[in-house]
């Protein structure tokens, strides 16, 4: 089983559009949307939801007003400033640690299990999709990322499929850590801007920390070719596999507007570039877990 996770550090570089195109190109795979904070992949794949389950994680404290003697012990002990002067817990600030409940002399604090969102296993025209929706302003997104990845693996095993393509979240924090650990490789979608390069370095550093091989592509490369060049150079200098450039092309937006992947919408240089990118990525995944490898060996397409 191989799993490719597409991340970027910086948001909005084109992760989901590129993963959508891969979905149209790859065979025998399960798709997984691990950007649970702001999931968008379903907008390209029009899923028909099959399984649907609540995502319960952690707890929230509730103070029962009739039992509370307003002694202030919970306010004093709470490190998250979640208990108001009126002894009401702010759900958005509560970490669910239960320290207030433990120290309440009256047993007036209930710790209630927290429904943080939902997850789904769906059918799409490009194969099964595991996705989720985190509740608005909820936490535990890292746990939900781990859950959808685990479910994607289960679906792949049940259906005898040997590849998982995962759309990851932006950033480098808890959900990204949950998305990267144990992947066969990450593809970092960079953009040729000062921020794109900066964020790529941090995301690549995170993946390397987890011993996951890093592939890098530059989207919208022609917007500023010197930055694309310097990203490619940086990758060579740091042992990351540079796997291609995509042009800035409004066709990505046009495809999105009609709910299609770019492969299913028109022709042109962007489409060809994405297909070449997939060839490079696929050869890497096919070659198994080889952290470094010879670019020449796969520059000639077979």
């Amino acid at each position: 089983m191989v799993e490719l996770v597409v991340i970027s550090g910086k948001g909005g570089t084109g992760k989901t559009s590129i993963l959508g195109a891969f979905a149209a190109l790859a065979s025998r795979k399960v798709l997984c949307d691990a950007d649970v904070d702001a999931a968008d992949l379903h907008l390209l794949l029009s899923p028909r939801i099959g399984e649907r389950e609540g995502f319960w994680a952690g707890y929230k404290a509730f103070i029962q007003p009739e039992s509370c003697i307003r002694c202030g012990e919970c306010r004093k002990k709470c490190r998250f400033e979640a208990v108001s002067e009126e002894f009401v817990v702010d759900e958005m600030l509560c970490e669910g640690c239960g320290v207030c409940a433990y120290f309440c002399p009256e047993g007036a604090v209930d710790m209630r299990p927290n429904l943080c969102g939902e997850w789904f296993v769906s059918d799409t025209r490009h194969g099964p999709l595991v996705h989720a929706r985190l509740g608005i302003a909820e936490e535990n997104s890292g746990k939900l990322v781990s859950l959808v990845r685990k479910q994607a693996r289960r679906v792949a095993e049940e259906k005898g499929l040997d590849m998982i393509l995962t759309d990851g979240p932006p950033g480098i924090g808890c959900p990204v850590i949950a998305a990267v650990g144990g992947a066969t490789a990450v593809l970092i979608v960079a953009e040729p801007t000062v921020s794109g390069h900066h964020d790529l370095e941090r995301a690549a550093g995170l993946a390397r920390g987890f011993h996951v091989p890093v592939l890098v592509c530059v989207n919208k490369a022609d917007l500023h070719p010197p930055s694309a060049d310097s990203i490619e150079q940086w990758c060579r200098g740091h042992g990351h596999q540079f796997v291609g450039r995509l042009p800035f092309d409004p066709v990505f937006t046009r495809a999105q507007l009609v709910g299609k992947t770019i492969l299913e919408h028109g022709d042109g240089p962007a489409r060809t570039a994405v297909m070449e990118l997939w060839d490079q990525v696929r050869s890497f995944l096919g070659s198994g877990l080889q952290p470094s490898f010879d670019r020449e060996a796969f520059s000639g397409k077979s």
């Binding site: 909005g12 907008l43 958005m92 433990y102 120290f103 608005i136 932006p170 480098i172 917007l223 507007l257």
Partner: protein, 282 residues
Amino acid sequence: MIIAVASGKGGTGKTTVAVNLAMALPGEVQLLDCDVEEPNANLFLRAAVTEREEVHMEVPLIDNQACTYCGKCREICRFNAVAIVPETRVALAFPELCHGCGGCFAVCPEGAVLDSRRLLGVVEKGKRSTVKLVQGRLRVGEAMAPPLIRKVVAQAEETGITVVDAPPGTSCPVVTSLRRADCAVLVTEPTPFGLNDLELAAGAVRKMGIPAGIVVNRCDVGDGRIRDFARREGIPILLEIPFDRAVAEAYARGELLVERFPRWKERMLHLHSRIQGLLVPE
């Protein structure tokens, strides 16, 4: 007044709006970069960093000499950050799992839980012309952004204007960044992804009770779906910015748009006056 610049979707132009707005305003303005996972504001502002402070979280370290293996710390910890095995006299803390609730410290009858620290990242300060910058930078490998964001937000001054550059998404890092905001500017683009993520962001600010308006970036690349949403939800559109390749290239090089394009200064001042309108009850 704290103006938070947010958006569910990444890459819509939050940082561009936050930095250029801060630079366009007359008088001293504070800019807080709360996107601590990928802090980008200073790539454009280019303020020299003059202060740097490490931020740690207090995590447990168990003193095996004093520990009686009573197990109270393990019992209170909901994050599996403490393991106690009385039979083999093992008492271990896992600082990377700790959420910093302080429960184990408070509950230990022997004083055997000692203060240790986990580095979360740094808070840096600097200044460029009228803009005072505070930015958080999460250590690569650290999972918990919110405690570091809290430190950045705590630097907001009581008087004057503070612009907050928030992280993308709608979960705890965003909620933490927006906690003290008086109003929110939601930057989006008129595409299916832009709208989907805007709906989530609008839901989050509504839940938090923060008045908000919308900036539509690259307003000419998609369709009319953001306008329809704004009308339906009664959220004002504060500004629409058409796509401009020269601007995209200047952004790529890390230029400040208000310095390069006079039009951008007017735009940001207009945005500021529209933001003030958000705070006036109708």
